[in-house]
Amino acid sequence: MTLRTMIASAALGAALLSTPAVAVEIEYWQYYFEGRVTAIDQLIEQFEAENPDITVKHTHFPYAQYRTKVAAAVMAGEGPDVVQLYYGWLPDFMKAGLLQPLPAEVFDPATIDAEYFPIVGRMKIDGQYYGLPTAVRSLAMFYNKDLFKKAGLDPESPPATYAELVEAAKAIAEHDSAGNLLVAGITATPVAQDAHWWREVLIRQHGGTPYSDDGRTVTYNTPEGAAALHDYTDMFMVHDATEYGFMNESQASFAAQRAGILIDGSFRIGAVQQMEGLDWGVAPLPTQNGVASNYASYWVNGITRGTEGEELEASLKFLEFITRPEAMQLWLDVVGELPARPEVALTEGNLANPVYGPFLAGLDGAQTTEFVNESAQRQIWLDMIDRINIGGVSVEDSLAEAAAAEQKLIDEFHAE
């Protein structure tokens, strides 16, 4: 713990000493993801042991409903006191005034600037922070060593370039006599990080950019963007290395040993570690044209606008607790997501770790996408892929349609 956090904690403690200890209950919401639910339950247990006068009620929802439920509940003056939000939702939530700024006396902006990874700076608006992450995440490649061996590939040298990735995926894919896919070389489903891989990795590897620097213009409707989209869709449209939507979720086919390669976030580490009988490894994302890129994202914990008085004090205490270095270490151990403070993340042990290493390396120079409405933008991506996959539309036409739709969305957001 650094001196500054100690002072901050002490200040918080002093502030709270002045109020009598009455039992107070606060509510914490997040979306359902097994590892995260376990991690928060453990943190709540520790927190309640340390603060017997506070109970934390933990509620979670399926990802698909989560954003709606949070917004609707907070608008109605119900719902959580402390809430976990995807960083990409912040613009929407800010605009609706659903969050309150974190008080500078407890969470000093300068301290946060200094102690967190720079990407967290997106949470600072007009000098005030509106949320803090426990963990950050980047992308890497999980692969199944047994399937590599079975396909005659060396399990200790996973593909390092996109070209090698295609070859490996083609080699691993298995079909039955009727042509049904039995084992996917690489996963490609709507429930995955594929959109991020395309936007921030593949497009940039072709020399393009997904959006302008101010985030107001869509810039992927270019030959570079199309080439990158081909990189993705060719896996199932041309190479027969996979089938879009195979077994619904990318992680499911990987867990069932029916997919050789899974490009996913560090949050998947915990779940993959629990997959029985799976001999797996992690490698950095393949490079292309000599370019390495990555996508970093995170979920922040914010405090909702209606929270005040005792609940606010308890919420601040809880927020401080779950962003402590110890909490970050626990999060890393249980979920696998990387600590949001470099001092906790970039230890020698972590960097040398065969699992965390590639993710931590990816964090360096990673991009974050500036969303205006993450779920709507995600839907545009899904529709774009569906048009190519089952709608009979060419990659270029589908890309142009998606770019137009996304530009319209961004324009509407800024027009209001």
């Binding site: 698909a64 608008m75 009727a178 089938e243 089952i390």
Partner: protein
């Protein structure tokens, strides 16, 4: 005081005592929301801000929105497909079941059971049926007999009928029961007269049974039409993220309303769509009343 009232006044007094709570209820929970909906559809109410009157802008937006027309067409596809298919099956079942006595009650029960279940639970069972190999029952069965896999829920063409199937399946029992009641209500003398005349079974069906079944048929057409036009539970639970995909191929009007209101929070736009739904249902009901009266 009360004793001085006439019998009529006493009756009126008690009537209003009994009606007081229900009348307030209907005003607050039915009538006020109806007018409120009409008003909201003329505002840009988005939950996030104070509603502002914007005239018919929501309606204009709606009529220019290709997604609206897509879901509007989908809604009628559910009707156009679901109504004839379900009525044909249920009538056939009822027609023959009417003649069966051996285990009549049991067989009727088998057809009726799906009607008693939660649509949500059954939607998930059917969703599993439709999965590709190696998971889904239908595709596993197809590939076991050497037939090609079908995409079902993942195809723009097959998804809508696939979502519709459990809705038809669940409603079949209800239609069978109503048809059976209708068939039983036809006086035996009509059949006897026909048999004496030596008329064939087919002619009896067309000349006697079906015409006399017209009120039953009309009733079922209206009830079932309204049901298919309001389809929601199946679509929400059988498509990815409840979005009515792929590419909006299965999204009906009610799901689009739900999304506009509770995902996009665009209450104004959502209520404008509910007005369309209201009009569609109203027209169907009026047409039915006309047809019944003309009989």
């Amino acid at each position: 005081m009360y004793d001085r009232l006439t019998i009529h006044q006493k009756q009126a007094f008690w009537a209003w005592v009994f009606l007081a709570v229900p009348v307030v209820f209907f005003i607050v929970v039915r009538f006020y929301p109806t007018f409120d909906a009409a008003w909201i559809s003329l505002t840009n109410w988005s939950l996030f801000r104070e509603p502002k009157f914007i005239g018919l802008a929501n309606y204009k937006e709606m009529f220019q929105d290709p997604v609206f027309w897509k879901v509007f067409a989908n809604t009628f596809k559910y009707l156009a497909l679901g109504l004839p298919v379900s009525l044909l099956i249920s009538f056939t079942v009822a027609y023959y079941l009417d003649r069966v006595r051996f285990m009549h009650g049991l067989i009727r029960g088998l057809y009726f059971v799906p009607y008693l279940t939660t649509a949500v639970a059954m939607a998930w069972v059917w969703r599993w049926f439709y999965q590709p190999v190696p998971i889904g029952l239908f595709n596993d069965a197809l590939s076991a007999v050497g037939l090609p896999q079908q995409p079902f829920l993942r195809s723009v063409d097959q998804a809508l009928p696939s979502v519709l199937a459990p809705a038809i399946w669940a409603g079949l029992g209800f239609q069978v029961i109503i048809f059976l009641a209708g068939l039983r209500a036809i006086p035996e003398t009509y059949y006897e007269a026909a048999r004496i005349d030596g008329v064939g079974a087919w002619t009896i069906l067309w000349e006697i049974t079906l015409p006399l079944l017209k009120p039953t048929l009309l009733f079922l057409i209206v009830i079932s039409s309204i049901g298919f036009l309001r389809i929601f539970d199946q679509v929400y639970n059988m498509t990815v993220d409840g979005q009515g995909g792929p590419l909006n191929a299965t999204r009906p009007l009610v799901l689009n309303i739900y999304n506009s209101a509770f995902v996009d929070y665009d209450m104004g736009y959502a209520t404008a769509q509910t007005m369309v739904l209201f009009l569609v249902l109203l027209v169907i009901t009026i047409v039915q009343l006309r047809l019944l009266r003309s009989k």
